[in-house]
Symmetry: C2
Subunit: 409 residues, 2 copies
Amino acid sequence: VTSPLRRRASSRDIRSESRLSVLHAVLRAKEASRAEIAQVSGLSLATVTTVVSEFMAEGLFAEGTRIVGRVGRPTLTVRLNPSRGYFVGVDMAETSLRVDVYDTALMPVGGHEIPWDDEAPSAIIDGIETLASTVLGEAGIDRTEVLGLGVCLPGLVQGTSTTSIVPAWDWHTRDLGMLRDRLGFPLVIENPLKAVATAELWFGRGADSSSFITVNLGTGVGAGIIVDHTMLRGATNSAGEWGHSLLMLDGRGCRCGRHGCVEAYIGAPGIWRTLREIDPSHALAPVDNQFDFMVGLAAAEPDAQDATVEETIARTGYYLGSALADLVAVINPEAIVLTGWTSWLLGERMLPVTHDTLQQQAPGRSADDLVLALSTVRGTAVTRGVALTALEHFLSTVGLLTTRTAIAL
Amino acid sequence: VTSPLRRRASSRDIRSESRLSVLHAVLRAKEASRAEIAQVSGLSLATVTTVVSEFMAEGLFAEGTRIVGRVGRPTLTVRLNPSRGYFVGVDMAETSLRVDVYDTALMPVGGHEIPWDDEAPSAIIDGIETLASTVLGEAGIDRTEVLGLGVCLPGLVQGTSTTSIVPAWDWHTRDLGMLRDRLGFPLVIENPLKAVATAELWFGRGADSSSFITVNLGTGVGAGIIVDHTMLRGATNSAGEWGHSLLMLDGRGCRCGRHGCVEAYIGAPGIWRTLREIDPSHALAPVDNQFDFMVGLAAAEPDAQDATVEETIARTGYYLGSALADLVAVINPEAIVLTGWTSWLLGERMLPVTHDTLQQQAPGRSADDLVLALSTVRGTAVTRGVALTALEHFLSTVGLLTTRTAIAL
């Protein structure tokens, strides 16, 4: 006789959630009293005191220097202990390889970026190992001090031993095992969209919004979706592939094989295509290096009266606003944060038309109070985010957290 | 001196979550032992025993009749106590008004549906009161036995006293107060998309999937999104307005004011428009009652070789599959469940092309294991779902749950 009931697919670990709240509060504040941690986390002072002791026992937390309280017995603050160890974050992107090293407080202590165009697993593993060794050597960090390594791979999805986990490169799970064995550090693998959203959750918009979307604009485009302080991963870890949702049914061909994707219009090559559609004889039309093209587009001053540039930016802002309105329709976030190099180069120029389009096209009053802004987390958000994931994984191996890391080995 | 820390926007009530898990298990199984409840909920037997006692003390649970265990001391099962009271569910739709009454176990004990075309608050309040009185009278239920009333209003969003909460009808919060005062029952207000998804969570797909999307196809179209057993509400309670995301930028005008919305293509009037675009002289082209049109479309047999009907259904299936691929791209659910009268009339006919289109257009391998199916929760899912929300609200008023009911008064 089988039970008519079925097991819930997931149950929560309450102690782990409490520890995550405390860690979040301390990472963000850099230094805080137990009472302050209790205040922001909503946990009892007793729970906070217990959790802080647990983190201190693992050497993650140290007594701080600030003294809190003007009456009664003064109490010391708590901070991350930066010398507990280091986390390496790797951004293996489509045209570059970047490695950054962070201390336990997620402050950067060194980093390097090199161009990259080889997608073979063995070459990438060599490249990561060489660059990581260089960065660690320059920072004077011994390999034994490294507590974890996080690697972002483009378009990562959940996989099994037989399926491809980086479809663009035909990487399989066994390749990750090779990477783990060669580097010799505990390894987590993450999708760059989710790494950026993780950095935004811990060090950016997450301070003010419990539910927000980080929209990455570059060669490819995509979203990291945070709902109630938690990453939306989806059934196969591919939630947030908004870049491959439709802007225009049967529209422009996208490199993913679909037609009419958002990315085909507002990914860097899509913006280039828009300019060429407007004026094939424009000076930027032959600039087929996408970064050079975008820098050229951004460099054209608004008062230079270059109608083609203005129209390209206006159309791109309209496409972006329309596509963001779809995210608002489906997810209805408190905020949308723009990140990625297209955002840094064109964001300020596009924002007015993007904002107006979004307001016009979002359903009803759903965007009345929506915050649309450029991210304040700049530069190395991908490596910082994946280093955070490596930190979470480290804490899970010492029994302090039960995380939902996508792939750890 | 202000703290550098900010309070988390929400914190969880653990006891409430445990009680919700137990209630969910018993509602679904109809009757279960404490050990079975512990097994499916992931809670300890001690916690289950405590929670069951709490529900029994409120008269919500009663001892069951089934005896479990063939060795040792036999144990009794637990079930909902249907005679504890009743919940009234109201589906105030755009063309009809439906009232159903449910017992505490959410089994229907009576119901009626009438056509409706008056959007004035006072007329609707009169209509609901009259129909509810009729249904309660026929079922022999005294008004004092009603524990709660749930009302679905089309397109409901979160509102303040000054903003419209039913934009299509210009309803304001004060109108809800009138409704509450006239009916005299504890009142919850819900969006029909979310009510249907609630019914699906408790009585349908929720048994097998922790994250799924209920897609409603009728005059309007929309989605109820369940992530990790929880309704995605969004910042203004309007998450799931997928019907007003883009299928085609600058495409067909939609009644919402935007152009190219999914609803403009696969809402019932959109399907009618597709047929008229294919063949303006077709026999169904002048049938401007959308329900009559759809029944006519569904009645045309596949072997009747009506090329216009076949093409209309094929295009609609293609539009639907494309739009569902966008939901998969952004949310990446385990399952998509189709509901609503267009689904009942055309679902079986559209499913093959919809399925193939979805598989082709969803990113990477994200839809490989996706379940796409018609809902098994038929008929009165809206009233059942909103009666469930009224039950949750009742449990919150007696201190057993802390729910996130959209609007309760």
